[in-house]
Structures are given as C-alpha cells and as structure tokens.
C-alpha cells in the first residue's frame, strides 16, 4: 500500500511540475492527443499560483472548485467527442483569470475595493458566460486598482500587484493582476478593461499582448462600470493569435448593451499603410521606448508595409478631455454604492475614488458644466476628427504605449497628477472609441519589457490582428513568461 500511495503522490507532484503549454493551440493539441488532461492542467496552474503568487499578489480570489468542475467537463467532452469538441467549444481547456471588475455568479467580485470586499454577484457578465460556454476554465479573480482607477496597481485596496519581471516595479494598471498573471503564466488568458489605457499599459509593462477592442464591439453587461462612454472590455494573452481567438468569442451583440453592434469587417487587399504620429514622440518619451517603436516600424517596412508620417494635432488635449469626461462619468456610476443593496457604505471608498468622484461632481455641477464638461465634449469631437482624418490616409497607427517602461512602486503614488499624465499616449484611443493592440517587442537596459501599440479605425480589429501576427511571425516571436 505504501508503494501505491508513493506512486500517487509522485504522479501528483509530476502534474504540478508539468511544462504548461504557452499557447491555446499547444494546449488544445495536448488535450486532444491525451498528452495531459484538463484536470492535470489545473493541478499545474494552481500549484504554480500557490508557489509564486504570494510575491506577486495578482489574484484576489481563487476558484479551485469551479476550475476542477470545468476541467472534468472538458475531459469528458474530449473523451466523448475527441477533436469535434473543439468545434463546439473553440476555447476548450483554455484557462482564464477575470479582472475583479467582471461579475462572476457565485464568486466574490470586489472591483479591488473594500466597499465590495464581501460582495458575491448573483449573475455573470456576458463575457464571462461566453468564455465559459466556449470551454474555458476559470482559475480566479485578479487584482486591480480599485474601481479601475489607476495606472500602476497601487490603488488596489488589497495591496499592489508586483511586476513579475522585476518585483520592485509596478505591473501597470488598472488591470494589474490580469497582466501580471498572464506574464507569470498563472493563466493562459486574462480579461481586463481599458478606459484610458488600463489594458494596453499593463500589457506593455508586463511584456504580454493586450487588446482593447472598439467601443461597442464587446458587451459591457456585467462589468462594473467606470466611465460609460469610455470603458472597453478586452483581454491579455501571450500571442496575437491567441488574443484574436478570444475576441471571436467575446465580440458581438448580446441584447443587453445598447452600444454594441455586430459589424462585418471590411475586406482588405493585403497591402497596408501604417502612420507614425509625430505628437506621440514628444519630449518625455524615454529614448529606449522611442527606439523600440521605430524598430517595430522598420520590421513592418521590411515586410512591404508602407510607413508614413502623420499628425494628430489635438493629442495634447487628450489628457484634459479624459480627466474631465472620465471623472464626471465615474461620479455618476459610483453613486450607486450607498451600502443599501450591496457592499459597504461610501466611507469605505479609498482616496483615489474620492478624488475622482469629487472631480467629476465639480465639473458637472451648476455653473461649471459648460466650462468643463461641455468644453471637454467639444474637444472630444476634435480628437475623433484627428483619427478619422488619419484613417483616410493609413490603415493603422503605430505608437508607444507609455512614455517610459514600468516605474518603481511608490515612484508616482504620491502625486496624482503625475500618475494621470502617464495615460497621455493611451487615453486618446478611448476618447475616440477606437481599438488598440499592445504588442511586446523586447526589453530595456534595465531588463524591463518594451513594446508598442497599433491603433485602428473603429471596428478595424482584423487589420490590427493581421499586422500584429505579421510582426510576431517576422521576428519569430516566442511567447515569453517572466519566470519558469
């Protein structure tokens, strides 16, 4: 009997140490060929999280029980249907971690805030349900800046997440936990939201692919609202190919979000033109960051993509527009947290939430509405026009995501305005409602991730994916995780 016990123990230990595949394709091939089971995959992921996440703090809530239930279901489907199981469930066996802004029925959802520390939703977000139905395995809920207010992860009421590449550095925010979990290989896919850059910037800081869809491409139903005209529901992955596969599942009308439309992508003739906007290479952009973007542009050139200079003249106003419109909408959306139907009362709001609520209330108040909010909406039209004019000339825009690579914990935390200025290169896309794809490209001298973003016209995701895949193929990109 001792031998049996020993064999079982060794087997479990081996499962935990298995080399977890880095892509959806590898994962599904392995499952179909019976190289491993979904249950073994979950063993391995959970062991990895158990071993390493204390130092990273990317998860707020684990869903072990649910994960095993779903994994057994995956194994059963493969047993019964073999390869055909993939046709019905295109994301079969793919592990997913959800930013704690996504309502998950029966699984605690906090928005990173003490206000909702004990909140258990009674329904799930559309994106959560769609991913579940596609065969994913939910590992848990990830840490984020409270209410998605932040660009570093330091505004979480449950402690900051650390950058898995260098733990004294921030992973970026507000989808800090999801970006970190993806780059630490705690999950194959992680969901996030991008209201002013909250997917693209942490993706950039953590060296993973981060995708912000067009505003109106993916339903926001069941995602805790930050700024309703700016929130975009997206996700992280290790390759553009994987990120595209997930978008195929999350996109489209659901009858519950009236801003969502199914749009058929226009066919392209294969010849692309990319624009480099001069306003995105201002003083204050780190030379290493600028170099990595220009190098990426050269990669595209080498593949026959035409690269031209363009101008987005109202870029300099994007932060001001964003920090008037967004807090205004935040102050309205956070009005529902009164501690009556759910959560604690408003005394449990952190400083950043209070700041944004007050800012928003101020710019919407009588006597100030015209001077601030209405004016911001007018400049918003100008920013939209800038992009529309640009997209008459080019198919996509290439730009840096952040003026610098990841900064150190505490470096910007004391000056809110400095933190806001970090959004300068990402916020314009949210103001205009256009899609953005953050792609990793290498590392800085300090060994921190570097990357760039591609932005396109509304509903041009297919162009961004094509270009992103072209880049990764040309440089023979291998999915990189922060540590083994």
């Amino acid at each position: 009997m001792d031998i049996l016990w020993w064999m079982l123990y060794l087997n479990q230990e081996m499962n935990k140490k298995m080399n977890i595949p880095l892509t959806i394709k590898e994962t599904q091939e392995g499952l179909i060929k019976k190289k491993f089971s979904a249950v073994q995959l979950v063993d391995a992921y959970l062991a990895r999280i158990e071993k390493f996440d204390k130092r990273i703090n990317s998860f707020l809530t684990m869903s072990d029980e649910l994960a095993y239930l779903q994994a057994k279901e995956v194994d059963r489907k493969i047993e019964d249907l073999g390869k055909e199981a993939l046709e019905r469930n295109p994301l079969l066996g793919v592990t997913v971690a959800h930013k704690d802004l996504f309502l998950t029925k029966g699984l605690r959802t906090t928005a990173g805030s003490k206000v909702l520390e004990n909140y258990v939703p009674v329904y799930s977000a559309t994106v959560v349900k769609r991913l579940e139905n596609a065969g994913t395995i939910t590992l848990g809920k990830t840490n984020c800046d409270a209410w998605a207010h932040g660009a570093s992860g330091e505004n979480s009421d449950f402690g900051p997440t650390k950058n898995p590449w260098k733990k004294e550095y921030v992973p970026g925010g507000s989808s800090s936990g999801s970006a970190a979990a993806t780059s630490a290989h705690f999950s194959l896919i992680a969901t996030g939201t991008d209201t002013g850059g909250s997917i693209r910037q942490p993706a950039n800081f953590c060296g993973v692919v981060g995708f912000k869809p067009t505003y109106g491409a993916v339903s926001r139903y069941g995602v805790i609202a930050m700024a309703s005209s700016l929130d975009s529901v997206g996700h992280f992955g290790l390759t553009v190919e994987d990120v595209e596969k997930v978008f195929e599942i999350t996109k489209g009308e659901d009858g519950k979000d009236s801003t969502v439309r199914n749009i058929k992508p226009k066919t392209t003739n294969g010849k692309f033109k990319i624009g480099i906007p001069k306003e995105y290479f201002i003083e204050g952009v780190d030379p290493e960051v600028e170099k990595s973007v220009k190098e990426a542009a050269e990669i595209f050139k080498s593949q026959g993509v035409e690269v031209v200079n363009i101008s987005l003249p109202h870029t300099k106003y994007a932060i001001s527009v964003y920090y008037i419109v967004q807090p205004a909408e935040v102050s309205s959306n956070l009005g529902r947290y009164d501690g009556i139907r759910y959560g604690r009362n408003r005394g449990s709001f952190g400083d950043e939430a209070k700041r944004r609520i007050m800012l928003g209330t101020y710019v919407l108040s009588a006597g100030y509405y015209d001077a601030y909010y209405l004016k911001a909406q007018k400049v918003r039209s100008k920013i939209i026009e800038d992009f529309e004019n640009a997209f008459k000339k080019v198919d996509a825009i290439i730009a840096p995501v952040s003026p610098t690579p990841a900064f150190k914990l505490g470096e910007k935390a004391k000056d809110p305005l400095q933190m806001y200025l970090a959004d300068v290169l990402t916020a314009a896309a949210n103001v205009a409602g256009i899609p953005g794809l953050a792609i990793p490209s290498g590392f800085s001298n300090k060994e921190l991730p570097l990357g760039f973003q591609l932005m396109g016209a509304r509903f041009s995701e297919h162009t961004l994916f094509k270009l992103g895949k072209l880049y990764q193929k040309t440089v023979d990109w291998k999915p990189k995780i922060a540590f083994q």
Binding site: Y119, V120, V122, Y123, Y215, G216, S229, G255, K256, S258, T259, R261, Y317, I319, S320, V321, Y323, I324, S331, G335, D338, G339, I340, R341, Y342, G343, R346, G347, F349, K354, R355, I357, M358, L359, G360, T361, Y362, S365, Y372, L374, K375, A376, Q377, K378, V379, R380, S381, K382, I384, P416, L417, Y420, A432, G433, R458
Partner: protein, 93 residues
C-alpha cells in the same frame, strides 16, 4: 467643500487641505482647454453614432433576478425589503 456634500462623501477635517490642493492642481491642468477656441465645435458624448436603440418590451428571463437574489447583497433586510435610513424624522405627539 461643497462638492463633498454634493457627492455624498465624508472627509475628515485633516484630509481637506490635501484633497483641496490635489483637486486644484488637476483643475488647473485641465483648464488648458481654454487655450484654444472650440466654441463652434459640436460636442460628442459617445462614439458609436447610435441613437434611440430600443428593444421589444418583452421580459428577458436572463436578466431578471428573483426576490431572494435581489436581496442577497446585504444582511440589512426585513420582510423582503431593504432597510434604509429613515427619511422622515419621528415627531413626538
């Protein structure tokens, strides 16, 4: 601070100077929008271009909560109602 009351927040007296300073700095920054003339531009409130999106007035069971589900977010319930702060003060007869 008037906004604190409007926003239904409470700040400790000691916090007021810090927040006042931070908010002033942010407001000063965003006032850069005054530098140019945007008076003839139409405002945009959302980017989809959609208007008056409606659906049939039919019950969608997927989005309906049972009474228990609706009350489950708090312990402050009584007889199937949420307990709230009194709106009217009691008057001694």
């Amino acid at each position: 601070m008037h906004v604190v009351k409007l926003a239904k927040l409470k700040l400790a007296d000691s916090e007021i100077p810090k927040f006042s300073k931070q908010l002033s700095e942010i407001i000063s920054y965003v006032e850069e929008l005054d530098k140019a003339d945007f008076s003839k531009t139409e405002p945009t409130s959302q980017t989809t271009g959609l208007e008056n999106v409606s659906r049939q007035d039919k019950r969608n069971t997927e989005t309906v909560l049972s009474q228990d589900e609706a009350l489950s977010g708090t312990e402050s319930v009584q007889n199937g109602y949420f307990v709230v702060d009194a709106v009217f003060e009691s008057r001694d007869e």
